[in-house]
Symmetry: C2
Subunit: 112 residues, 2 copies
Amino acid sequence: MKINNIKNVKKEKVLDEGVKDVEKQIPIGIAEGSNRIIMRLFTVKPGGHSPLHTHDYEHLVKVESGKGIVVFSGGEREINVGDFVYVEPNEIHQFKNPFDEELKFICVIPKR
Amino acid sequence: MKINNIKNVKKEKVLDEGVKDVEKQIPIGIAEGSNRIIMRLFTVKPGGHSPLHTHDYEHLVKVESGKGIVVFSGGEREINVGDFVYVEPNEIHQFKNPFDEELKFICVIPKR
């Protein structure tokens, strides 16, 4: 058993290509002993976005605060608190924050 | 891509042995196409609890609202909003709500 409060979890700027103004925290990951599933918390500042990309693993996303836009092959959709987003493996996707408030979301992935 | 708002996700009473006053929603699961990871939301009413049990898969837990007590082999600990709990496979655990307010938490598991 490992209990982490988010206030004590290191926040790191995401420096990957195509990313703007996104920070990542990993409240449950390999450091906590989780060998199959990783739980991350992302903060997307106003004007920020994740890359428009695909990869061979899924995302299980839950909006924590603020709102955002999710881009997918079929278009775009606004996401708000209370929304859960499942992104399939190999599905193109991007999370954008064109709004005035920070967007925070949980994103769960399998360990790669 | 599948987007579900929690307001539209069916809430079911958990009837398993050792459970009292717990409801479950599955905002991302097999119905959404997620074949490896399942995201559930549990509501534990005041006086309610999950079973004190073990199983061979892990839990990745995030407290959503209210507060609770997590029981583990080493004792008990209060959990609050902002806390993330990793329960190892085969680790004994229980979630209890002896408080006046509903406890809500996300619990992510691998598909069994």
